[in-house]
Amino acid sequence: MLETVNRIWRSGYRDLFAQTIIYIAVAFVCVVFIWILSDLIRGGIAHISWDFLIESPRDAGRAGGIGSILVSTLLLLLVALVVALPLAWTTAILLAEYVPVTSKFGITVRYSLQVLAGVPSIVFGLFGNAFFSIYLGLGFSILSGGLTLACMLLPILVSTAEAGLRALPDSYRLSAAALGLSRSATLFQLLLPAAAPTLAAGLLLGIGRALAETAALLFTSGYVERMPGSLLDSGRALALHIFDLSMNVPGGDAPANASALVLVALLLGINIFAMKLAYGLQRKRII
């Protein structure tokens, strides 16, 4: 149909003008994207080696590697996910399977999460500092940083999981009920396994969001760059390491660039994998 439509459309002077502008805008965005990536790769690739990935930073990060930073980042991520996932998935299951879309309770919970999704990360940092670090007495630690991250991740984890469950056809639920399965059995044996790819995609998106976070961790997990001994130790996340090296350490640009390259590579990998999961699922459903 588009072909005939195209033929019918007369490409007048104004059309050509609009088209040119749009193509220029798109080319501009592409060029900038490639510019950023190539800058990061050119500046960082020479500095990256196996040793860089496993050594601890020395001399405020100018020498050595990012081994301890990666460990801290991983621990932060683990804490955040262990706390956020059960909360997010129970919320999503309740919203998608147990309460009607128009119920007051559902609307309230959804609205609260929507607002939470818009809260700037620096505000999460303030909250984490006041609540986890000071009020609960966790101090500057991986635990308080991870808990702050968990609050940040909730909205995206809930909304992806809820969408995944809602996308399952109702015939699943009806057939399960007709076979006499209890609702919990339906949920655990049928619905959750069927929605697993979307749950995984949401999980990956959440991991990406957590890895990218800096502002919320400034005053919660702290700046200390050595290998963390426990969850109550302060630990520096990879994104914060980049910030500190480029702003506070003269001569830290090369390792900062290499760390940025590592972070971007990780995130691009995670995001592409998440897209594959989500879109692969869509295609399967269409066929």
Binding site: G12, A25, V29, T90, T91, L113, S121, S246, L267
Partner: protein, 279 residues
Amino acid sequence: MTDRLLRWVLRIGAITSALIMLLILFFLLLESWPALQQITLTRFFTDPSWHPLEAAYNLLPMLSGTLYASIGALLLAIPLGIASALFIVYYAPPHLALLYQRLIELLAGIPSVVFGFWGLITLVPLINQLHPPGASLLAGILILTLMILPTITLTAHAALLAVPDEFQRGAVALGLSRWGVIRGVMLPAARTGIVAGIILAAGRAIGETMAVLMVTGNVVQHATSLYDPIRTLAANIALEMAYAMGDHRGVLFVSGLLLMLLVMLLSGMAATLSNKHHA
């Protein structure tokens, strides 16, 4: 039995998730309360300057910095974002459209600290050659533009796709040109969705911290030109929280509260818009 147990577990999870929002608001209020009692609200606008150690708390320069940077970024990102969405929906051949959409999605996944770092090593020196000092409002605007572009593009894309097919067919049947269809029919029909996306992007621009902090120079002043360094509200919190005590700390929480209320207002507006659209 297990069904009832499960239902309770689920309900407790959901209530906890919903309460986090209130917990955040409560703690922001709690921390800013002492400062709000000591300092009358008007002093945030009438104090001679921002010198927190000498108890002068004028937030206006930071507010103007935040607004200039956000508005500048919106002015650039709105045309670019809408053009990108039009390209994906109407102009590009299918495989190119998909590729470009992925590129925009990946752009959305680049962390703010990396944008800031790139701005610091690439944009700031470039602007410095044009007009020193380089770290400036302009650098902040350009970086913010890149960061909110994906939001605007992806929401505009979704809004354009949601316009019923008949609209396009009808307009084409009337003999409108391609641009005529887009300008006269599709864009107006998708307007609410696009505006909701722009409002969301504005919220993101206002709250953005790290990237802006790294490229704007962080001088507390009202900018008189694009090349002046500025400091935004969010950057101010990140810069001063480390050593703030007493009222100073309280004022930082007040500005955090202010940011949060602004963003809540914006996301509320976006939500009402898109709800009205669906109804």
